[in-house]
């Protein structure tokens, strides 16, 4: 799988997105990351592996703590892709919203 596909796949899961949102606030250990989730540490570790493979997080070397850090670079590719895509459709749908209001008033 190419990098962008891996990032898209990694982001397809709500738990993984929540983990990334947590790491956007600063680095954290696996235990800290797992705390708000009603799932096992093992399940969290699996999600972290997916995120690590996609290049979205890096893990420290410090003994058993191995804090996780967000790596924003690959996310930027997806964020930009989505931003561009959104721009077109937002303009289009804004026009549709305005048009719908107009024809409802006329009728």
């Amino acid at each position: 799988m190419d990098r962008l596909s891996e990032v898209f796949s990694a982001l397809a899961d709500p738990t993984r997105r929540a983990i990334l949102a947590r790491l956007a606030e600063g680095e954290a250990t696996v235990n800290e990351i797992a705390e708000p989730f009603p799932i096992s540490l093992q399940a969290v570790s699996k999600h972290l592996k997916v995120l690590e493979r996609a290049g979205l997080i890096t893990r420290g070397k410090e003994a058993q703590w191995r804090p996780c850090r967000l790596d924003a670079a690959p996310l930027r590719g997806v964020a930009e892709w989505v931003t561009e895509y959104r721009r077109f459709w937002e303009e289009r749908y804004d026009e549709l919203g305005t048009y719908l209001t107009k024809i409802q008033k006329e009728n």
């Binding site: 962008l4 982001l11 949102a21 996310l75 959104r86 026009e95 048009y99 719908l100 024809i103």
Partner: protein, 154 residues
């Protein structure tokens, strides 16, 4: 109302968009179903040439005359269930042969209509080609902006 369009990526080859319109479902559906309506909004404020044969198997072609050039799109209606669902192919003529499938679903609640659109790309080349410029390394984005972006995805 800023950010009233949500865009998510449910899988690596799909983009999902959700938008709520303050109009009844039948009207929102109608706005998608004839050139008379489509030319008022699809061009994002630019003049639009529109041809459509709104029936299953029928073709459509839109040309948007934007300040930066003419952009032509075409496709075919695969499934139509008025006023709930439209499935159509979508092809940008600038990238002929790269065809994605769009599924549009409409639901109404309290007089407002939610339009959910899922675009499925056949290959990652199509997905990447759709927005070439989106692939460029952008200017530095702060972690705050990224956190906001992630919150939006959640």
């Amino acid at each position: 109302m800023p950010q009233n369009l949500t865009v998510t990526t449910p899988s690596d080859l799909e983009v999902k968009m959700v938008r709520v319109f303050d109009a009844p479902q039948a009207l929102v559906f109608e706005a998608h179903s004839s050139c008379e309506h489509v030319k008022h909004w699809w061009g994002r404020g630019n003049p639009l040439d529109c041809e459509m044969d709104f029936r299953v198997g029928g073709a459509w072609r839109f040309v948007e005359h934007a300040p930066d050039g003419d952009w032509a799109f075409r496709g075919e209606y695969r499934d139509i269930e008025a006023p709930n669902r439209i499935v159509q192919t979508f092809e940008f003529e600038g990238m002929p042969g790269q065809i994605c499938v769009e599924t549009l679903e409409l639901t109404e609640e309290g007089g407002k209509t939610t339009v959910t659109s899922v675009t499925r790309f056949d290959t990652k080349e199509e997905r990447d080609g759709m927005i070439e410029s989106g692939m460029s390394e952008g200017a530095g984005q702060s972690y705050d902006a990224l956190a906001a972006y992630l919150a939006k995805l959640s």
